[in-house]
Subunit: 572 residues, 2 copies
C-alpha cells in the first residue's frame, strides 16, 4: 500500500504518523510545498511578539526526524500540481528546481489547508509599495521580523482584519513596541461573537493604544507614481485618512484551498470546502481529505460548514489513516470551539451566535451572565461575560460566547463538552465541577448558567434582551433600576427609576400598575426583584445581563453605521 | 406555609433564599448553632495563611442582610436539639442564654452538615495540653490566629490528617512561616487518589520543608503531670518521636451530623448519612435534608455514598426548596469531583480510584499520561500527571485523578462533565476543546486520553501497569527502554535494556523472541515502539505512564509498611 499525502503540517502529518503506527509496511510519501513541516503555526504570532524567543521552538519536526522515527518519505519544497484519478498518480513540482514528476498512489490524502481570502499578498504589496504579509508560515514571520528590525525608531503597522489571527497580530506587535492600526471592514471585530460581546474587546484594544478603525477598508497607499523618487509611508483608508505603515499584515481571513480537488473533479460542498463523508473519504474512494480545506458537518444546523481549527485537522488526519487502515472511526459533527487571547482578555466561543440563529429563524433563548472566575472572596477573581444560546423547543445548547480573563478557557471547554454530549442547558446546573475558592465557586459560573436556563425553561423568570428594551419601553413598560442609589448615581439607563432591591418589598406600591422591566448591574439582583414583584402581582421581566450587557450593546450600536439598523444586526 | 431550616451555611442558606424567591408568602426561619451564617467556609484556611487578609471577606451575609433582602428570620446562636415529628415542632436552645423554646413547622429542612470524626477538639486539647483546633468555623480561625500571633519566634504546628483540609492547612501555615509536621495514620495522604498519584504530592510537601510522617499517629503529648509546673511543647508520635507543636490542627475528617435525624427516627443510609429520596425528602415527607449530613447516590456504583462538597450542598439546598414549592427537580447521582491546591500543585479527582474498583471486582482499564498544560513551545507549559479509569466492558469513564499545576482544574471539569453526560472514554478524543497555544494543545490532554483509551479498546495497544511490571518480568518478559541513551544514563529501571526508538526498526532483531515490555519517559514513544514491534511480530506491551509513573509507584511503595503487601494496596 502506497499512501501519498499532500500537505505536511497539522492534518497531513497526523495522518502520516498514525498511518505508520497502524501499518509498518506501507509506503508513505508526504509532499509539502513550503520549506517546513509540522511547524507550530499557532505559535507564529507569538514569535513575532517575542513571547517565543527561540525560532527552533517553532519547528517541531524535520523531514529527517520524521524519516528516522516513522520511516516517512517527507519532501518539502514540493508542490502537488495535479491529480490523475484514473491513473492514481499526482504530478509534483520541485519548487526549488522546477522539475516535474509523477508519483503513483494507492490512497491519496489531501491536507493542503486554506489559502488567503484576499488577493495574494505579493500583488497587493506591489500595488501599495509597502511590505505586506500574511501570518501563516515560518517564512512570513521571518519576513515580518526583518521588516520590524529594519524599521527606524518605533515602527507602525496596519493589521487588516479583526479575526483571530488579526487580533493575535495586534497583540504581539504592540508587545514589540509597534504602533498598530487595526482596520475592520464591518462594524464589528471577531464576527463569531454577537455585537455586545465584541464591543468590550474593541474598548480593551483602544485602552492598549491600538487605533481601531471599524467600518473602514484600505483603498490604497501614498505610494508615489514613480517609486524611484520616494517610498510609500502608509495606507489610505476609506474614511479618507492616511495611517502610517512600515508593515501591513493581511489577516482578512482564509478560504479552503480546493484548487487540486476541484481540478480533479472531486465534489466540493456548498460551504466551499472539499466534500468528505464521515470517514474523511472524498467523492473518490481512493482519495481522502482533512483539515482547513475540508467541509465539516455543523453540529447545530446539520449543514456543511467550514471550521478552520487545528484540533479538528489533527483529529481528522488521524481518522483518515484509521479509515485507510480499515478501521474507520466516524467523525462527529463540529461545534466549532475557538479561543483567542489579546492583551489581558481571553475570548472564546462555540456553536452559533444569536445573529445566525435569528437569520435561520431558529427559536432560541438567550442568557447573559457576568460571573467571577473564582470565589469573590479569594484574591485575583476576574469577572467574565458569558452569553449562552439555548434551543427554545428542546433546551439544547446552541452556542456560547465568553469574554474575560482567567477561567474563560475552562468554561468554554465545559460547555463544548456538554454540547458534544447533548446535555441540555438546564442540566449545566447539575454538573459537579471542581471547587476550591482559587479555582471556581460553589455555584460555578457554569452552574449559574444552568440555573438561569432552568428558570427560563420553567417560566420562573422572563427576561428582556438589551436590544429589545426600547421596544418594551415604547410599549409602555416602566424601567426600574434595583441597584443601590450610589450605583444609580454613578451611571444609569436613560429612562430608569431607582428603587433599591432591599426596599422593594416595602415600596413596590409606588410602582405603576402596568408592565415592568427591572434591572441591576449584571442580572442577579434583577432576578430576585422580578421574582418578588411577580409574586406581588406585577407583570415583570428582568433585563438579561443587567446594566453591564446593556452598556456593551450600546457601545456596539455606536459603531453601527446609520445605514444599518439595529434590527439588521440583531433582527428582533 | 412555615419552613424551618436547621443550619445557615451552604445548603441551608441556598434552600432559604431559593424558597423565598419561589414563595414570597412563606414564613422562613433559619436556626444556626454558630454565630455566623453564610460564611466562606472554604476560604477559612486562606485567612489563616494571610491570602485572604480582610476577615470581613469571610462573612458573605449577615442575619440582617438576609432579613432585609429575603425576609428570612435568621437566628444565630440557636441550636435545634430535637424534632417532634408528630407535632411538627422542633426544640430550639439559645446557646447564649440557655433558653429553650419550641418552633412549629410545615416543612423542615435539615442542613446541619458534618461533624469532626475524631473526639471533640476540646477534649483532646485538654488531654494534650496543647491548643488543638479544627478548621471549620470562623471561631476556629480566630482561635488559630490568636495562638500563632502569641507564639514566640517561628512557631510550630502539627496537622493531623492529610486530606483536603489538612493539606490546605499545611500550605497556609507554611505560608505564614510556621514549621509544620503532617501526621498521617496510613501510608498515603489524599486517599481518594491511588498511591502512585499521591506520592509526588508527598515529595512536593517535603520539598517545601514540611515534615511528613506517614504510617504514624499521635499517641499523646509531653504535657507534665502537673500542668502548673510547666506546659506541653509537643506531641508524641507512634514512631516514638516528639514533634514541637504550638498549635495542633485536627483534620482527621468529618462524618455526617445525623444526631437530630437519628433521634427523630428518620432513616439513615448505609453510608451513615441521612437517607433522602431524589427530591431531598427524608423518610418523613415533611422533612427534607441536604448537604454534608446527607447520603448521595454514587454515580459509579449506584449505592449510597458520602460526598462532602460545597457544590452539592448548594445544589441540593436549592432542590429542596424546589420540592417544597411543588416543582421537584430530581437529583443526579454524584460523581464526587474534588480539587485541592497545595503550594505549586493542584490535585483533582472525580469518580472511583483503582483501589476501589479492584476491591469491588469491577473490570476496568487504566491510562496514565503526562501531558502539558498547553503547547510545549509556548512559555509556561507545566506537565501534569493524569490517571483515567475506564469500564472494561462499556468504555464508560469511572474516574480520573490529575496532579499538576495550571490547567488541572480545567481538565477535571471536562472529565466530570463527560462522566455526567455519559460520554465514553474513547469519545474524549473527539471533543473540540478551545485551542490556542497558551491555553491547550491541538491534541489536548483530554483528547490524548481518548486516543489512548481508543487504542486500548480496539486492541491497538496493550499496556502493563507499574504494579504489574514485576510479575510480567518474573514471567519471562524482557524490558526495553526506548528512550535515548542520555535519558537512560540519567536513571533507568533496574532490569531494562536500552534500545532507542529511532534505532528500533533496524535493530529489533537483537531482541529476544519472547514477550517484551517497552517503556519510555511518559508512555508516548513507548506506544510508537509497541506498535512497531507488534507489527514486526513481537509480543509486546507498553508500560503505562512510562518511567515517570513507575518512579511514582516505587515512591509510593517505599512508604507501604512491610506488613502490607503491594497487592493489598493495589490487588493485582
Amino acid at each position: 500500500m502506497k499512501i501519498v499525502i499532500v500537505g505536511g503540517v497539522a492534518g497531513g502529518m497526523s495522518a502520516a504518523t498514525r498511518m505508520r503506527r497502524l501499518d509498518e509496511s506501507a509506503e508513505i510519501v508526504v509532499f509539502e510545498r513550503g520549506h517546513y513541516v509540522s511547524f507550530a503555526n499557532c505559535g507564529l504570532p507569538y514569535y513575532v511578539g517575542g513571547v517565543i524567543t527561540d525560532r527552533a521552538e517553532l519547528l517541531l519536526q524535520t523531514p529527517e526526524s520524521l524519516g528516522t522515527r516513522f520511516r516517512l518519505d517527507v519532501r518539502v519544497d514540493h508542490e502537488v500540481t495535479g491529480i490523475d484519478r484514473a491513473g492514481q498518480t499526482v504530478s509534483v513540482r520541485n519548487t526549488l528546481t522546477g522539475d516535474e514528476r509523477s508519483e503513483s498512489y494507492d490512497r491519496l490524502i489531501l491536507a493542503a489547508g486554506a489559502t488567503t481570502r484576499s488577493a495574494p499578498a505579493d500583488s497587493t504589496s506591489a500595488a501599495w509599495g509597502l511590505a505586506t504579509h500574511t501570518l501563516r508560515t515560518v517564512d512570513d514571520v521571518d519576513h515580518i521580523d526583518a521588516v520590524l528590525a529594519a524599521a527606524p525608531g518605533s515602527p507602525s503597522a496596519v493589521v487588516i482584519g479583526g479575526g483571530f489571527i488579526g487580533l493575535e497580530a495586534v497583540d504581539n506587535l504592540v508587545r514589540r513596541g509597534v504602533h498598530v492600526t487595526l482596520v475592520q471592514r464591518g462594524p464589528q471585530i471577531l464576527t463569531p461573537l454577537d455585537p455586545e460581546m465584541a464591543a468590550p474587546v474593541v474598548a480593551d484594544l483602544r485602552a492598549h493604544g491600538v487605533d481601531v478603525r471599524l467600518n473602514t477598508s484600505v483603498v490604497g497607499s501614498d505610494a508615489p507614481a514613480d517609486p524611484a523618487t520616494s517610498a510609500a509611508t502608509g495606507l489610505l483608508l476609506s474614511d479618507g485618512s492616511l495611517v502610517p505603515a512600515d508593515l501591513v499584515i493581511d489577516a482578512t481571513g482564509v478560504r479552503p484551498d480546493t484548487s487540486l480537488a476541484a481540478a480533479a473533479g472531486l465534489a466540493i460542498g456548498d460551504s466551499g470546502g472539499i466534500w468528505v463523508d464521515e470517514t474523511q473519504a472524498t467523492s473518490d474512494p481512493h482519495i481522502f481529505a482533512v483539515g482547513d480545506g475540508v467541509e465539516k458537518t455543523d453540529a447545530v444546523g446539520g449543514a456543511g460548514t467550514l471550521v478552520t481549527m487545528a484540533g479538528l485537522a489533527n483529529r481528522h488526519g488521524r481518522a483518515a489513516a484509521d479509515s485507510i487502515a480499515g478501521r474507520p472511526d466516524a467523525a462527529e459533527p463540529a461545534v466549532g470551539t475557538g479561543i483567542v487571547g489579546v492583551f489581558d482578555l481571553t475570548i472564546a466561543m462555540v456553536g452559533w451566535n444569536e445573529q445566525r440563529l435569528v437569520a435561520a429563524g431558529r427559536a432560541h433563548r438567550v442568557v447573559h451572565t457576568h460571573p467571577s472566575s473564582h470565589a469573590g472572596y479569594f484574591p485575583g477573581a476576574e469577572q467574565m461575560a458569558i452569553k449562552l444560546l439555548i434551543d427554545a423547543d428542546t433546551d439544547a445548547i446552541l452556542g456560547a460566547q465568553i469574554v474575560g480573563g482567567s477561567g474563560v478557557d475552562k468554561r468554554i471547554d465545559v460547555i463544548a463538552t456538554a454540547m458534544a454530549a447533548g446535555l441540555g442547558a438546564s442540566a449545566l446546573s447539575r454538573l459537579e465541577l471542581a471547587y476550591a475558592p482559587q479555582y471556581g465557586s460553589a455555584k460555578d459560573a457554569i452552574n449559574q448558567l444552568g440555573y438561569v436556563a432552568d428558570n427560563l425553561l420553567h417560566g420562573t423568570s422572563r427576561s428582556v434582551q438589551w436590544h429589545e428594551l426600547d421596544a418594551a419601553l415604547d410599549a409602555g413598560a416602566t424601567l426600574v433600576d434595583v441597584r443601590s442609589p450610589a450605583e444609580f448615581a454613578a451611571g444609569h439607563l436613560p429612562d430608569a427609576r431607582n428603587l433599591n432591591l432591599d426596599e422593594l418589598r416595602a415600596r413596590h406600591g409606588e410602582l405603576p400598575a402596568g408592565p415592568l422591566v427591572v434591572h441591576c448591574q449584571v442580572g442577579q439582583r434583577g432576578h430576585t426583584a422580578a421574582r418578588l414583584l411577580s409574586q406581588l402581582g406585577h407583570d415583570v421581566r428582568n433585563l438579561d445581563g443587567g446594566y453591564r450587557t446593556w452598556l456593551a450593546g450600546r457601545a456596539a450600536m455606536a459603531s453601527t453605521p446609520s445605514s444599518e439598523t439595529l434590527s439588521e444586526r440583531i433582527p428582533v
